[in-house]
Symmetry: C2
Subunit: 96 residues, 2 copies
């Protein structure tokens, strides 16, 4: 299934910058970055649960926010891209 993950991390402190780097790395491990703080993860529910738990461990729940959008298996017609950097196929290799 396709899950979109978006995040806001409070980077006003060094600790916040570290959390941002860790969260971005975790999302990269499981998905593709499509915008600065937006990742698309094509994975099974077990993998998504694993990723979610890892993200929750890293984030500061009082300062950062994560949103998960569950787009299901018929996700292709639900996504439209306009403009720069349309450069990857979530089912294939990175083509940027």
């Amino acid at each position: 299934m396709m899950v979109l993950i978006t995040y806001d991390v409070n980077t006003t402190t060094v600790a916040g910058e570290k959390r941002l780097r860790k969260i971005a790395k975790l999302c990269r491990d499981y998905g593709q970055r499509v915008q600065h703080s937006v990742f698309e993860c094509l994975a099974d529910p077990h993998q998504i649960a694993l990723l979610k738990n890892k993200l929750i461990d890293v984030m500061d729940k009082d300062k950062d926010s994560l949103r998960f959008y569950y787009l299901g298996s018929n996700w292709k017609p639900k996504i439209e891209h306009i403009g720069a950097k349309e450069g990857y196929d979530p089912e294939g290799v990175i083509i940027t």
Copy 2:
């Protein structure tokens, strides 16, 4: 229907900063900001088409990107929020 809009605007120039402000204002006019560059718009297809055209007019297609995620009418179970700033009801008033 619910449409999620995410954007990356290249703000390395004054013109880019202007585009960012205009794009954020347009998205605010039609939806709710849920993260820094993430808006959720609960609107009919006509309104979404209007917004899309306005955004395309403002953006620089070579430098900026917009993504639309069409979550349909049964969007509530598709969205999960974790952490800070869960503060609005897209069907109601702003509660932050």
